[in-house]
Amino acid sequence: MSGLDSVLSVEHLGVTFETPRGPLPAVNDVSFTLSGGETLGIVGESGAGKTTLATAILKLLPPNAKIVSGRVVVEGVDMMSADPDTLNKKLRWNKIAYVPQASQNALDPLYKIDDQFVETVQAHSDMSKKEILARASELLLQVGVDPVKLSSYPWQLSGGQKQRVMIALSLILNPSVIIMDEPTTALDTIIQAQILELLRQLREFQRMSSIFISHDISVIANVADRIAVMYAGKIVELGTVKEVFSDPLHPYTQGLLKSVPDMRRSESFGYIAGLPPDLVNLPPGCSFRERCPVAVEICSSITPPLENYGRNHFAACHVVGGRRVRGEA
C-alpha cells in the first residue's frame, strides 16, 4: 500500500489505553499512507478511535495510552524511535502539525493570539518573535482573519475565527502534513462551508497533505481524495472518494452513507441502529456484526482482514468477499 512519494506512512499501528476496567484497544492494526498533496478523510462514529489515531501519529498520547504495535514514518523519519528533542524541534509542527478536536477551546483564554503564536512556534523552532509575528499576519490574511486580531483574546473571536486562527497556526512552519480533528463540527453550516472552501484554496496554493477527521461523511466528501472508514479501532474500508462513495463495499460504510441527509433527494435519511461494541470486552469476529444487516455465521468467529477489491479499494468484510468471489456483486 505504500507509495514512493508518501509523506506519511502508518504501519500496523496499535494503541491501547489502560483503564480501570482493563485494557482498551482503541486503535487496532491500522495501516495507510499519505502522498504529497493528498487529503485523506477519516470517518467514523464517536469512539471509533479517530482522535487516538491522530494523537498516536504525533506521539501526543495521554499517559495511560501505550503504542502496542507498529510504526509511523514522516518523510522518512521514524516517529517511534525519535528522541523527545527531535520530536519537538524537528518533527512536530515542522513536518507534521495538528489542529486538535474542539480546538476553539485549545486557545488559552488568558493569552492574546499573538502570544499564542509566539509560544507555540518557539517550542518548535528558533524563529525570532519578529519573524513569527510577520508570518502570523501573513497567514491570518490568507485564512481570512484581519491581522489586527493578533492583539485580541480568544474570547473576543467567534468560533469560526478561532478555527481559522488554529489553521493559520498549524501552517506557520510549513509542515508537510496537517492533521485536522473535526475542524468544522462545532460550527454552523454557513461557517463550515467557508472553512471547507478555505481548505480547498489552501490545497491549491500550497502542496499541503492533510488528514481530515470527521464523523460526517458528507463533510469528508468535500475535502478528501481518499477516505478511510474506521469502526471500533480498525479501518474497515479504504479507497478513493470516487470509489467509496459510488461503490461502498462495507455494510458500515453503506449505513453511514444512508445516515446523512441528501438535500437533492426527496426521501429522508436513515440511521445505523445500535451502538458500537464495548472495546474492553470485544467479542471475537467482526466488530460490526451485531449491527450488520448482512452478517453470516463466520462473522462471529473470524475477524475479516482488509482486502483489496481492485483500484486500491479495500474493505474488511466476509460477506462482500464472498459475493465478489461468487461474482454476485
Binding site: 462514529e45 464517536s46 467567534s158 469560526g160 475565527q161 454552523d188 453550516t189 454557513i190 461557517i191 463550515q192 462551508a193 467557508q194 471547507l196 472552501e197 480547498r200 464523523h215 460526517d216 461523511i217 458528507s218 463533510v219 466528501a221 468535500n222 478528501a224 472518494v241 470516487k242 462513495f245 449505513g255 453511514l256 452513507l257 444512508k258 445516515s259 446523512v260 441527509p261 441528501d262 438535500m263 437533492r264 429522508s268 435519511f269 436513515g270 440511521y271 445505523i272 441502529a273 451502538l275
Partner: protein
C-alpha cells in the same frame, strides 16, 4: 375555533447589555409574526446569533417580550393564571441543546424523566409514575425501559441522552414540543434515529417547532420553514417550496452550505463574513453587508416580509 396552536404577533425581545449605565440593547427578536397550526411542524432555521433560541424561550414563556403577543390556543402566554399556567407548562415542552450538560452525575434516567412530572405534581401514585416514565422510554426506543431507567445519565451515549430528553418531555403528554438543535451535537450515524422517533410522534398528533442551523434536517422533518436572520423572519413557506426555490439570498446561502454525500458536489459559501452583532444591526436590510446581491436600496430601506404566493413570504427587495 381555528386550528392554531400558536399565534405570535409582532414579537420583539430586547436584552439590556450588561454593564453599569449601559443603554445598549441586544435586538434578539425584532418584530416576528408567526402562526403555527396544529399538526404542522415548523423548522426555524438560521445561524447562531439569529435569535432562534430566544424566540423559542419566549414562546414557552421563559423570557418576557418588550412588545408583541404570544397567544397559545388563543390565550396570551404572559397573562395566564393559576391552573392555566400549570396546563400551559405541561402542554408545551422545550428541549434544550445538550439538555444534561450540567446534570447531577448521580441522576438516574428515571429521575430525569420523572422530574417534570414531580415538579408539576401531575402523577399521583408510584404506579402511575412508573407507567408514565416507562411508557415514555419505550416511545423513544430505550428498551427494555426498566433497565434503562436504572442507568445513570452520565453512562449514556450522546444519542441516548437526547432520547432521554425527548422522553422527559413526552412524559408530560405535551401537545407542542420545541426543540433547540436536537441533533446537531450528535454523531451523524444516530441523528436519523432521533428524527424518526420524532416523526412517529408527529403522526400521533404532536406539533413540533425545530430550531436549527441545519436546513437539511428540517427539510426532511418539518412541513414549513421559517428562516431567521438577526431577529427577523426573512423567508417563510412550505419546506418543499423553500428548499426547492429559495427566494431570499440568505436562504440560498444556507442551502448551498449543506454538504451532500457526493464528492462531485461541493458546498458553496454564498454569504460573506459572519453574522454581525445584534446590538447594532445593520441599517436597511440586515443581511446587506453579507449579501452577494446587495444594492444601494438595501442599505437604506428595510424590505418588508411580503406575500409572494399562497403561504409564501419573503423579505428582500430583489426576490
Amino acid at each position: 375555533m381555528d386550528n392554531k396552536v400558536y399565534d405570535v404577533k409582532d414579537l420583539t425581545v430586547y436584552f439590556k447589555v450588561k454593564g453599569r449605565g449601559s443603554k445598549l440593547f441586544v435586538h434578539a427578536v425584532d418584530g416576528v409574526s408567526l402562526s403555527v397550526e396544529r399538526g404542522v411542524s415548523v423548522g426555524i432555521v438560521g445561524e447562531s446569533g439569529s435569535g432562534k433560541t430566544t424566540l423559542g424561550k419566549t414562546l414557552v414563556g421563559l423570557i418576557k417580550p418588550k412588545s408583541g403577543e404570544v397567544l397559545f390556543e388563543g390565550r396570551n402566554v404572559f397573562k395566564l393564571r393559576g391552573a392555566e399556567t400549570a396546563e400551559f407548562r405541561r402542554k408545551v415542552q422545550m428541549i434544550y441543546q445538550d439538555p444534561f450538560d450540567a446534570i447531577d452525575p448521580l441522576f438516574s434516567v428515571y429521575d430525569a424523566v420523572a422530574e417534570g412530572l414531580r415538579a408539576l405534581k401531575i402523577t399521583g401514585s408510584r404506579e402511575e409514575m412508573d407507567q408514565a416514565v416507562y411508557g415514555a422510554l419505550q416511545t423513544v426506543r430505550l428498551t427494555p425501559p426498566e433497565e434503562y431507567a436504572k442507568r445513570r445519565i452520565t453512562s449514556l451515549s450522546g444519542g441516548q441522552r437526547q432520547r432521554v430528553a425527548v422522553a422527559r418531555s413526552l412524559a408530560m403528554e405535551p401537545e407542542v414540543l420545541i426543540l433547540d438543535e436536537p441533533v446537531s451535537m450528535l454523531d451523524a450515524s444516530v441523528r436519523g434515529e432521533i428524527i424518526k422517533i420524532m416523526a412517529d410522534l408527529k403522526t400521533r398528533g404532536k406539533t413540533f417547532l425545530m430550531i436549527t442551523h441545519d436546513v437539511a434536517t428540517v427539510k426532511f422533518f418539518a412541513e414549513s420553514i421559517a428562516v431567521m436572520y438577526l431577529g427577523k423572519i426573512v423567508e417563510l413557506g412550505s419546506s418543499e417550496d423553500v428548499v426547492a426555490h429559495p427566494l431570499h439570498p440568505y436562504t440560498q446561502a444556507l442551502i448551498a452550505a449543506v454538504p451532500v454525500p457526493d464528492p462531485e458536489v461541493k458546498v458553496k459559501s454564498l454569504a460573506k463574513g459572519e453574522i454581525p452583532s445584534a446590538i447594532f444591526p445593520p441599517s436597511g436590510c440586515r443581511f446587506h453587508p453579507r449579501c452577494p446581491l446587495a444594492q444601494e436600496i438595501c442599505k437604506t430601506e428595510e424590505p418588508a416580509l411580503r406575500a409572494v404566493a399562497k403561504n409564501r413570504y419573503v423579505a428582500c427587495h430583489f426576490a
